[in-house]
Symmetry: C2
Subunit: 378 residues, 2 copies
């Protein structure tokens, strides 16, 4: 049985030798800090005070009672009690299982519009399992389409709010993508928009973007998407020096208008600790005057321009002509988006957008996974 | 005259020798990419397409006309025109001047409550110059007090909204710090709160926090603050190995309740590229089960506990007993806050809080600096 074990008291740690082989080390200070009795019964937050014990504390005794490890501490009346199965799962060095940690499937142009995951608005709104499936599909591809939305400007944000509250920006809690007479942003013109991620001038750009199509009758105006993970992975293989420049040299981004001047410095590609691609920040419109060392500037421009060309290469692009009642949903920190120019004299084009950050998106996946786990266990 | 210069065409760059000495190099590709004509006249965004020119482009000719550098490009009818003063200020390698980049003054307990910058609500609400002064003072210390707020639950957030929109979190757009019958957070109890920063479980915790005191009649309940920059700087000097662990080892944070499960991994101390202290994320309540390599765990615990002890050392603490009508304002990503326990049977204690992120805070400083510059120039 996996949960059978015998404890050994070593110099600074307790060792559990598991009945089915293997053993794990548990530093004493970790066991004291992690004692389930040290967490608030209602809030779940840690209330144990680490400064109340010496760093070199050691148990008086430890024993297994059934499937529970019991530890007696000197000068502390209450023994610590840990379930062995829990200890094994949460042993030091083992990351806590995370239902929101879903592997990204990098995609390229051959995915096609038909390969983009789809969900029905009515189902996502009414059914938690449908919501969970849609969020997990969206996370895998960084891109999905919800169809069957009501012809109501609030309908798209209503679906987004099923996940969590909206991320406000200097463009508001929601935004309208229509051509405006006095635009403060290129999105509000009828010009083509080359592929980009939004609001790279923010320290943390908005995570998930929701673009509900209310009308798309104008000629042109197709939406184009590109998976930044695929492009970055290919660049790393084809031109490692270019990739390295884009992943290590901070460049300035800026948006400014009459009431705003928001700036951030960052790399175009950001890697996680494990080397995986965590984020793409690519927006030529919001790239500020490049101020990096002139000695690396020619090489940097070559790398940056190469990435730019890749984001426009049909080999990477999926094109969608959104219909009224459809909403495209994408991870703005992974998937670049753009659009073809349109002729506003041939018909009306109106998208309404909003954002929900990655933190709230992942939180919803985790909370929904609780019900999923219960359903699977039943 | 500083703006007199003569241009030289070198292999990949144009060199300007300034009349008053010194010279700067401007890569040709940078000059083409930075041509003022390549930015949208209304939105200020870059519309020039970098892929439309070869990387090795070079001018046909360059000359100075008055205070303007004029560059003729092959195959491009329009010459680029740059003001020499602008070129000197924005030369590659020189960071754009930033009115929001104000040096932090690290403070310790000897600052005292009397040393905390103060502002009057009525002035901050009515006068842009008073607003600007208050924001700059707040940024320098990471902490300030606004006094004279109306006895209205919306008054504190009204002052915050002078800066920008509020940052929403899973606790809402605003939050009430009162003891609640069924708390999902230790702030909503009457317990003492050791020093911490809020929402370390968010990828980007909220920046500036605004706590408007509506009532503080209970015994106890004093507010305590600690400058994370001072603590981190001292730790780096006194125990460099401990500092290094806290600045390089990611640890897990988590908040979860019935509707939420938000997690992030990060270092407790974050440095900027120049080594300066950019952020402190310290919250023992929200620190999840520590899952790092057991081999470094004892050293990590020692470093973490030492930092914890420093944040409680009176040598670093400033204590304020907020009065009704006062609001304390602090950079939640720099200044730790806590409170003494209070006895809810002796009187009512009610704070109302909200957040504005660093990006919007700095944006307001920059926009206000435009008027400041105009006033100083006049």
């Amino acid at each position: 049985m996996a949960d059978m074990a015998s404890p050994r008291l070593e110099a600074r740690q307790l060792r559990l030798d598991w009945a089915d082989g293997g053993s794990d080390a548990f530093p004493y200070i970790w066991l004291r800090d992690t004692d389930p009795a040290g967490f608030h019964p209602r809030t779940g937050e840690r209330v144990f005070d680490l400064t109340s014990v010496p760093l070199d504390l050691a148990p008086e005794a430890a024993r297994v009672e059934g499937t529970t490890l019991v530890i007696d501490w000197p000068g502390h009346d209450e023994a610590s009690r840990f379930e062995l199965g829990w200890l094994r799962e949460n042993r030091p060095g083992a990351a806590r299982p995370d239902p929101a940690q879903l592997p990204a499937t990098a995609w390229r142009g051959d995915l096609g519009a038909g390969g983009v995951p789809r969900a029905r608005a009515a189902e996502v709104l009414a059914d938690d399992m449908a919501l969970s499936t849609w969020l997990r599909d969206s996370k895998e591809y960084g891109l999905s389409i919800v169809e069957g939305l009501e012809d109501d400007v609030e309908a798209g944000c209503g679906v987004a709010r099923r996940i969590g509250f909206l991320r406000e920006t200097n463009f508001g809690l929601t935004f309208e993508v229509v051509s405006k007479p006095d635009p403060n942003n290129l999105a509000y013109t009828s010009d083509a928009l080359p592929l980009h991620t939004d609001l790279t001038n923010q320290e943390m750009p908005p995570g998930w973007q929701f673009l509900h199509c209310l009308a798309n009758e104008a000629e042109g105006g197709g939406s184009v998407f590109c998976d930044g993970v695929a492009v970055a992975e290919d660049l790393a293989r084809e031109d490692p020096a270019a990739f390295e420049l884009l992943a290590t040299v901070d460049i300035p981004f800026r948006f400014h208008d009459g009431d705003t001047d928001i700036r951030a410095r960052k790399t175009v590609i950001r890697r996680g600790r494990g080397g995986e691609i965590e984020e793409i920040c690519f927006n030529a419109h919001l790239a500020d005057i490049l101020d990096i060392d002139p000695a690396i500037m020619p090489d940097y421009y070559a790398a940056y321009r190469r990435l730019m060309q890749m984001t426009r290469d049909p080999a990477y692009l999926v094109t969608l002509k959104l219909k009224a009642g459809e909403m495209v949903v994408f991870d703005n920190r992974r998937v670049l988006h753009g659009r073809a120019a349109f002729d506003p004299s041939t018909g009306f084009r109106h998208l309404r957008g909003c954002y929900v950050d990655r933190g709230e998106f992942d939180s919803r996946i985790r909370v929904l996974a609780r019900a999923r786990d219960r359903a699977e266990a039943a």
